[in-house]
C-alpha cells in the first residue's frame, strides 16, 4: 500500500537523523536507544499491521489502530506536561537573570527629588534627568 511506503520512508528518514545526531554528539546514549527502539517499533507496526491488531486484541481493544491512537494520545499528553514543566523552569530562570540585572545595577536610574543620578558601569556618576534614549541604552546593555 502507498501509505505503508510513505510511512516506511519517513521512519527511515527519522532513523538516519537520529544516527547523524548521535554521531555529532548531540544525543546522549539513553535518548538514542529510546528513539531507535521507538522508530523500530513504528517500522514493525507499519510493516506488519496485523501485529498491532493481535496486540490490541490481547489487551481487550478491538483494532490495532485504536490501540496506537490511545497510546499516542497518552504519550502526547505526557509530553505536553513535561514541556509545560520545563517551560516554567526556564521562565523562572529568566526571571532570576532579569532580577539579577535589575538589582546588580543597584538602580541604573536612581533618583533624588528633582535631580536624578544616572549610574552606569565604568562611568563616573553624573547628575541630570535621564531621557528616553538613555533608558533605552541602559536596557539594551
Amino acid at each position: 500500500m502507498l501509505i505503508q511506503a510513505i510511512l516506511i520512508l519517513f521512519v527511515v528518514f527519522a532513523l538516519v537523523k537520529i544516527f547523524s545526531r548521535y554521531q555529532a554528539g548531540e544525543l546522549t546514549p539513553l535518548p538514542f536507544v529510546f528513539w531507535i527502539i521507538f522508530w523500530l517499533t513504528v517500522l514493525l507496526i507499519v510493516w506488519q499491521p496485523d501485529l498491532s491488531t493481535q496486540l490490541a486484541n490481547s489487551l481487550g481493544v478491538g483494532r490495532g489502530t485504536d490501540l496506537v491512537t490511545y497510546f499516542s494520545l497518552a504519550a502526547l499528553f505526557y509530553l505536553i506536561f513535561r514541556l509545560t514543566v520545563r517551560l516554567e523552569r526556564i521562565d523562572k530562570n529568566i526571571t532570576k537573570i532579569v532580577r539579577h540585572l535589575a538589582l546588580g545595577r543597584e538602580t541604573s536610574l536612581r533618583g533624588a527629588p528633582h535631580q536624578t543620578q544616572i549610574v552606569d558601569a565604568g562611568q563616573a556618576p553624573r547628575l541630570g534627568n535621564p531621557d528616553k534614549d538613555e533608558i533605552a541604552s541602559l536596557r539594551s546593555q
Partner: protein, 222 residues
C-alpha cells in the same frame, strides 16, 4: 522606621507620576521604589523624573516578579517595613499609614488591605458578586485562611515576614502564594479596610483560571 513602598509598574505612564506624588505627599518619610517591569512606554523615565528609585526589568516578568525584585532591594537597603502598592492609581496613598501602623506597633507581621471592610470601594458588580467570592473560596481551599478579600495588591510586611514570604509566582498567582506562606509560617496577619478605585477591570475569569494553572504547576515543580 525605615519604610519602603514598592510599586510594580508595567506601561503605567498615565498614572505613575501621580501615584508617586500622592505617596510622597502623604508619607514624606517613605522610600519609594518603582520596579519598571519592562514597560514599552515612558514609565521608567517618568518615575525617575519624579525622583524615586527605579529598578528596571529588561523583560516583562509579571507583577509577582517585580514585587520580589523590589522587596529584595528594600531588604538590602535595610527596610523595616515593606509596602506593596499598585502603579495604576487604584489605591489611596493616605491609607498606607493604616497598613503600616499595626506592624510598627508590633501587633502584626503582615497587614493585608481589604476592599470589603469599607463601603468606599466602587467594585464592578461581576467582580464583587462572582469573581471575588469564588477567588476567596479558592484561596481558602489552598491557604486554609478565610479572608474578607482575595488578591488585593495593597499589603504591608515587616522585614522578617518578607524574608519568609518570598514570592516565587512571577505573574498574578502571587496573591494566593503570599497568603499561603503567611499561613505556613504562622505569621500574625491582620486585615485593614482600604479603598479601591477601579480604572480598569483587572483580573477577570480567564485571569483567575491562569492563576489556578500557575498554582498547580508550581505545586508540581516544587
Amino acid at each position: 522606621m525605615n519604610v519602603f513602598v514598592i510599586i510594580p509598574a508595567y506601561n503605567e505612564e498615565k498614572y505613575i507620576s501621580g501615584v508617586v506624588q500622592g505617596i510622597r505627599q502623604e508619607n514624606s518619610d517613605c522610600q519609594i521604589v518603582v520596579v519598571d517591569d519592562g514597560s514599552d512606554d515612558a514609565t521608567a523615565r517618568l518615575a525617575a523624573e519624579a525622583g524615586v528609585i527605579v529598578l528596571c526589568h529588561l523583560l516583562n516578568r509579571g507583577q509577582g516578579a517585580a514585587l520580589q525584585t523590589g522587596t529584595q532591594f528594600a531588604l538590602k537597603q535595610g527596610a523595616r517595613v515593606i509596602v506593596h502598592f499598585d502603579g495604576d492609581g487604584q489605591f489611596e496613598a493616605k491609607e498606607i499609614r493604616n497598613l503600616i501602623t499595626p506592624i510598627v506597633k508590633g501587633e502584626a507581621d503582615v497587614v493585608l488591605g481589604s476592599r470589603f471592610l469599607l463601603p468606599g470601594s466602587r467594585i464592578p458588580w461581576s467582580k464583587k458578586w462572582l469573581i471575588l467570592p469564588l477567588a476567596r473560596f479558592l484561596n481558602f481551599l489552598i491557604t486554609s485562611r478565610w479572608l474578607s478579600d482575595a488578591h488585593n495588591g495593597f499589603r504591608a510586611f515587616s522585614a522578617d515576614a518578607c524574608r519568609l514570604v518570598t514570592i516565587e509566582q512571577d505573574r498574578m498567582a502571587h496573591g494566593t502564594e503570599i497568603v499561603e506562606k503567611i499561613a505556613r509560617h504562622n505569621l500574625r496577619c491582620r486585615e485593614v479596610p482600604v479603598t479601591v478605585q477601579y480604572h480598569r477591570y483587572g483580573q477577570g475569569l480567564i485571569g483567575g483560571l491562569a492563576i489556578l494553572k500557575d498554582l498547580i504547576i508550581q505545586k508540581i515543580i516544587s
